[in-house]
Subunit: 329 residues, 2 copies
């Protein structure tokens, strides 16, 4: 069954989104339903020579803009690309949905249309590069005010996601705090620590901000407020560091020559830390696969998100989440 793609959302318009779906079809043979204005999408598919690829179009007449309030968008735009995309999962016509549009609206629509696993606060997981293997950070923005039980649920979902998506046998779980000792942290984290300690998860204790990128732990758990700040700080800092380095290099002729020689190493490095390689961030805990992509996603990021959506659906992620959450809470 195909993946549904919100083909109108995101900062760069439908061109890069359709291109991403075409690449996913060509490179991985994934079927995709493009959801959006039929005329526009047909034109793009023809223009890009996508004949014969397993790509379909479902018309949706409205688009949620990037800065629209999610609840408002949900109520007023019943025929938005986001709503129609999730409707396709609900109606059994698609297995998963990928959107680079308004992430609040994507989340709200997933919750509303698919529903949540009983008793669970859905959370966004993201995969980040480290010095060793990639790490899963959860939650990066779905929940701004969390109770300890929610952090515990995020740990279970991170465990399942790491197992299925990153093929870790027994993923190690760290709790993001301000010191390794169990006495360190705010009230919420200290209580979550005790719950995790008593669980059957492979809990390794608190980890600090500096540990995320060392790659010593497979899953890092935090509330969505902290996680979202960490995610955006990491993106901003990585960009700033490379910019500052570039400024220094460009200020010297000799250094510029050196940079030219080292350019391929820089390129490989950029590929390693490029979020586009990791294919979007799934919203875990809803009854279906929902992948939230960066608004700035280009074709490669969309291609990888579609691949991941398809894989997670085939691996039946949602059923694994449901049974693990049931067994452990």
């Amino acid at each position: 069954m195909p993946v549904a793609l919100d083909a109108m959302g995101g900062d760069y318009g439908p061109g890069v989104l359709v291109e991403g779906a075409i690449q996913a079809a060509r490179d991985f043979g994934v079927e995709t339903i493009l959801v959006g204005d039929e005329g526009t999408l047909k034109g793009l598919l023809e223009e890009k020579g996508a004949n014969g690829l397993p790509l379909d179009i479902v018309h949706a007449s409205q688009v949620v803009s990037m800065d629209e309030a999610p609840s408002e968008a949900l109520r007023r735009k019943k025929d938005s690309t986001i709503q129609v995309s999730f409707g396709l999962i609900r109606d059994g016509r698609a297995t998963a949905c990928v959107s680079a549009g308004n992430s609040g609206a994507t989340m709200a629509s997933a919750l509303f249309t698919l529903g949540r696993i009983k008793g669970v606060r859905p959370a966004i997981a993201t995969v980040m590069p480290t010095l060793k293997e990639p790490v899963v950070l959860i939650d990066v923005g779905a929940n701004v005010d969390c109770k300890p039980i929610h952090l515990y649920q995020f740990a279970i979902m991170g465990h399942v996601f790491s197992k299925i998506h990153l093929k870790k046998d027994s993923p190690s779980i760290g709790l993001l705090s301000i010191g390794e000792e169990d006495t360190k942290g705010n009230v919420q984290v200290k209580k979550a620590y005790d719950m995790l300690q008593a669980s059957e998860l492979n809990f390794v204790g608190n980890v600090e901000g500096r540990d995320i990128f060392k790659g010593d732990v497979d899953v890092v758990v935090c509330d969505g407020f902290v996680g979202n700040i960490c995610l955006k700080l990491s993106e901003g800092l990585a960009e700033s560091i490379l910019l500052m380095l570039k400024q220094e290099i460009e200020s010297s002729l000799v250094a510029s020559m050196g940079y030219k020689l080292a350019k391929n190493a820089f390129k490989r490095f950029k590929k390693k830390v490029d979020y586009a390689e990791y294919g979007g961030a799934p919203l875990l805990g809803v009854k279906g696969i929902a992948i939230i992509c960066h608004g700035r996603s280009k074709a490669k990021a969309i291609k990888n998100a579609i691949r991941v959506a398809d894989e997670l659906a085939r691996m039946d992620l949602h059923a694994h989440l449901e049974s693990s959450l049931k067994a452990m809470t």
Copy 2:
């Protein structure tokens, strides 16, 4: 009047600390009292040829170790270097205290010995490099569970510190959150937003993680749990990025040659992002100047911390903080 230096704390022992004090005396003419084991310190001063420099020694027989519980250390080690150092401020024999030792104990001792400005939750401010001017991040670890009023107090203290230390006329203040709109954030942040909006501070609204390093805002306010995670994440990520880049460069002979040419640019860059240039993080809101240094501080970091401590004392930071807090709360 001199600055007191906890001359035994930190990861590298008294040698680098004494060296830092010597450099501060030579480069900036700052007087320092070295607090610690008299014999050891005398030996070090002689060995390093510090004759004639304005350096004094006050004996303290105990040292708080890096992993000791602060409350325990305070109760049991009355003659620790940290306690004796703050005692010198209390007794009017020093203007400020610098410590690279156990930061929890440093904070506790500052609170206990100096006392706090009435009604205020002291907070740690740190200066971080950005693409433009350095930014002040406050709080980076003194308070893990904050109310909105505390964030408001941090903003006032950040404002005063930025004015005095970084010579900003009307520092712009941002509130760290997960979106720029005033509706974004957790309960605590949304309430603090309203307080800041109604204040006479130059409040520019919410800022996101990615904005910290852009340098568009002079002060970023957050609770100590979030700030500590951000601080350590930034350190860890910066180190990891440079390591990953190094790995890529070293894997290719041509890139290695290029790196050699660009080496000075890398060095200038490292100097720019080196926390050691910024001279420690003051604990604002106590009745006196307390500078907390990284445990990994080497001589240069200590030198700069002593310089900053001396400057802040001369500018009467504490009186400015007290009057601004009184006027605005």
